[in-house]
């Protein structure tokens, strides 16, 4: 009994910080002209999360920085789901089919979620990207897209 009481006392005496993070997997995939894939979002937090998925085409500058834009006309995307509620410590898999009529295509599937707020009450929104590179041939597609953009850094 003393042991239990000691534990309860410790509970109120000491303080720590609970840290959690959300993850996406895989981060990058390479595809041929037709691409059927999926990515998973893991909610490592203790409360459920609402996640929405949006697609963007992007281009790279010579430093490898991406600039997003609305999905190109030559990209045909079919998402299985556009949003989901992810349980605490749960994982949700989003499936998609992607076709690119004018390769190469670079598409970012952005998963957005509100994960908390600051002490001042400002909401913290996290956006995780699952990036798809589509070329005529799957092999070394990302490398070719980066080379075409003149990216010299890794």
């Amino acid at each position: 009994m003393k042991r239990v009481l000691s534990l309860l006392l410790l509970q109120f005496l000491f303080f720590g910080l609970a840290v959690s993070a959300q993850t996406v997997s895989p981060i990058i995939v390479e595809c041929g002209m037709k691409c059927r894939g999926e990515f998973s979002i893991t909610n490592n937090g203790l409360t459920a999360l609402a996640v929405t998925v949006e697609a963007r085409s992007f281009s790279l500058d010579s430093l490898g920085h991406a600039t997003n834009r609305p999905l190109d006309a030559g990209v045909d995307l079919k998402l299985e789901e556009g949003s989901a509620r992810i349980s605490p410590k749960g994982t949700h898999t989003f499936g998609y089919q992607l076709k690119c009529s004018v390769p190469p295509c670079s598409v970012a599937l952005l998963s957005s979620m509100v994960v908390g707020h600051t002490a001042e009450g400002i909401l913290v929104r996290v956006q995780l990207a699952h990036t798809v590179y589509i070329c005529e041939k799957q092999k070394d597609c990302r490398k070719k897209v980066r080379a075409a953009a003149g990216v010299t850094v890794d």
Binding site: Q11, A50, T52, S83
Partner: protein, 470 residues
Amino acid sequence: MLRVCLCVLLLAVPASAQVLQLSGGRSTLLGGTGGEITAFFPESTLSASAGFANGHFVFGASNAFKFHGLDVTAGDKDFGYSFDGAGLGVSTRGLFVQRNTRHTSFAVFVGSTGIGYATPFMLTAKVQHIGAGFFLQRHFDSGLLLSSLAVIDGGKHSAIQGLSYRSNSLHLAGSGGLLQNQKYFTGEADYQLFRSLTFSGTHNDFFLADHLTTNSLSGFAGLGHITLQASLLDGQYRLLKTTGASAGASLRIGSITVRSNFYESNHRVLLVHVVQEHFHRWTVSGIVNRLQGQTSYAFGGGYHGNRISLSLDHSVLFFPISGKGFQQATTVQVSLRLHDTVLNFQTNVDPMMHVQYTTYASSYVPGPLAGAAMNSPTHSAGGKFVIGGTVVDEHGQPVEGAAIQLQGGAVVYSDSQGRFFARMKHDKPAALVVLLQEFAAPGRWAVTSCPVDAAPGTDVLIKLRREIAP
């Protein structure tokens, strides 16, 4: 009386928790039945477990928190570390402190040690001795890793030192010392001759009730769609020596993988041919076995979805303790997610070749401090008929995070453009409801206009009004 007071006290504290995790289950593999309640507070985590293990009532409790950058646990915790093919796990009850930095990890505990029951659904210990332990691991940029573990567990003393080196093509590891009053050594080496060709060798001593030794030598080659592997194994348990050899090849063409493996142990030859196909979230496999001139067939497979995951697998494992060498083992795994509750069932084959099972459920419940919780199910029913739309505010601006439920379907949320969609199985109108209490968008909202239902192929417009700014 003590047990009643224990339960009342442990349930009183979680009443003020932010989130509660409730778990319960049974495992023949781990020899226990019981449950655990974990209360997550903003700055600490309090757990309490109780159950029966091998016919005896057992309980445990712990409180984990940060203190000046240190991770502190008061109560029950497993002190378990492994490195370089060796390791030691001790169930402890006391004070446990650890700190991990980029290059250094250290942990120390002081208290008592005993028999622990660590399962996914409860963590308890049966105290037997006074104990203390220390673990230190240091990474160097050169690839060297130094590890040191010292434990006093009643009359059993352990002091293990480990050293390993890893470069792009070579991994060498060795450790030795005193493991529970017995001298021991273990070592392993991996050499990657080319990018696609790897050799490895290991030697291990396991200190169970009796001494078990295993050695292995293996090679692996990956050549595009083709992989080749071969290995030699031997094990000795008491006076029983078991040897084995295996070789195999696999070919992957698109979503289909074909594997053929040869296993030889104790003068028995086993041939296993497997054809496996992955399509989307399904896996199907057909297995042909040939043992002692007899042929048998088996089928396996699995499905991995967001709500349910199940698999039936056949594998060939090496059993040095029972002296039977390579044997086939069938395992079943089922996982079902119902809202915030996960149900799991899994079978395992123990070292004596007995089939054991573990089944448990785990759920998260929001506490009074958790704030509003999203409670509606949101797993999509799927389908080829799409109902979509846009959510805007009183100024025509898109509203992100609005929750909309379609009849017979899941709750969906609007994106940054205010767009949402849901896939339906049937080509008929579905009732549409805006769930204001489920919004991920900040603030309080009211519905200005929303159609009663929506038909597939149409684009609905939902107008909202913000009542209170966030």
